[in-house]
Amino acid sequence: MKKVVLSRILQAIPTLWVIATVTFFMTRYAPGGPFDSEKAIPQEIKVKLESHFGLDRPLAEQYLLYLKNLLQGDLGPSFKYPGWEVSELIATAFPISLTLGALSLVIALLIGLPVGIIAALRKNSWLDYLPMSLSMAGICLPTFVLGPLLIYVFSTQLSLLPPLGWYGPADWVLPSFTLGLFYAAYIARLTRAGMLEALQQDYVRTAIAKGASSFRVVTKHALRGGLLPVITYLGPAFAGLISGSFVIESVFFIPGLGKFFVTAAFNRDYTMVLGTVLFYASLIILLNLLVDLLQAWLDPKARQL
């Protein structure tokens, strides 16, 4: 176990370095810069701005300087929001995306797991087809359609919930529900498939033949097997939730990290882009590690890997 963790961490360092380098040069070679402005500023002023932020130095020098700061934990200042540090902005935005992601995942599990389990147990009945078809709808309907629809119904028409923002707990409901439904669909399908496969396994059939109660069989044996694909999915799903949340954050006007990233990319806020990418990558590496550990614990076969 310890060896795995250690080797993963060691593996992470060159990975992050590669990501940092690729992103750095990608953003610099792209057209447009952070100080191309509205009033088409005269060249001298633009040069002045760039020198304030060290953008007039040769690229290699900037790159090395950036790496040096990175090792000291300094992600640099944001170009788009002067006076604010990238780490400061990530520190305010990330908890929001995290909460949103976590809430959505909870909702997804609360809806998806039972639906998938029942569908598997009542295979080929209406309890199987109906929820599975609905969940398919959840997968096929983009969140930027479901979101405005829910806002229109619950906020504009019924005044039950706020239409946007992230100022209080009431604001959490619609966005996490929208995102949660989407993932619930996937989870339902995975659970059903996993459970069905587990139910076919010899050791489960043996248990049933031996007279174990169906309920006991379900919870003890099949469920474990059924949860496995869900857990494998959870890691990337959670990472995907957090890094893919920008659609939801856009529709619901939530100041999460996804929104900051997209804005930074559009505005050539180099430091912010780099900071966010590195942050996400580190997060995903960590999550993958946790998921693998969890998997190994759950599935005895996988432990040998």
Binding site: Q11, A12, T15, V18, I19, T23, M26, T27, Y29, A30, P31, M136, A137, I139, C140, L141, P142, F144, V145, P148, L149, Y152, A193, L196, E197, P236, A239, G240, S243, G244, F246, V247, S250, F261, V262, A265, F266, V273, T276, V277, Y280, A281, I284, I285, N288
Partner: protein
Amino acid sequence: MSLENSSSLGKDAWLRLKANRMAMLSLWVLVAMAVLSVVGPVLSPYSYDEQNLDRVFHGPCNEHLFGTDNLGRDLFTRATYGGRISLAVGLLATIVSLIIGVTYGMTAGYAGSKTDAWMMRSVDVLYSLPFTIFVILLMVLFGRNFLLLFLAIGAVEWLTMARITRAQTINLKKTEFIEAARALGYSHWRILFRHLLPNLVGPIIVYATLTVPSVMLLEAVLSFLGLGVQAPLSSWGSLIKEGADKMDAAPWLLFFPGIFFCMTLFALNFLGDGLRDALDPKSSKE
């Protein structure tokens, strides 16, 4: 997985597929969508960018089967034309991811030991990239280019394909069939492409069918961010985005492209499930 002569395997699978009603229905739906996308714009008296500023936001009527949009353009033409774009992107991106993934996975699985380890290590590393982020970054930085669009999307999806292919290749490698080919002195390339590949077709097709919908969704998200195809072209994704914001005033703008999009995705998913069942009878259905 048995390695019978491919044609009888194919026939068996096809029979199983035919028996699956949902899958067959989905297949027909997909065919219908494809035909509609190709034929629709041709049949329509309007072109997809033809504006009629006097007929803005008209609902479905005699002259306009699906209604008109904010510039008086015929929605039926735009929705079917959008199908061309969305389906093309879906197909092309999937093919890109297929080509990269299958080649990579086969090579890794076949080569084994150190090469395999290195190649899969890299995949693991790449897996940790927040890929959607990179796609967005690419599109934002380097502009809207149809080629770049499906290259970028395709590049997101190839990893899992590589893993699946590699796993299957490893299984196949151990069989007598392949060992016999080696003993006969066939070159590696020949073995890879004439012996291994045909037997990988099953899982490849399944996975490809299931990749297309997620590619199409990714394209829709890119359209939402303004990174999709350029105006006046439109894909289902961009049509849906425009429609979503006007759903209280002009619901048909959302409804028709939305139905096309959802039905296609539905069909692809069901078909993929059906193919998986047909090609590997041990899983689920009894």
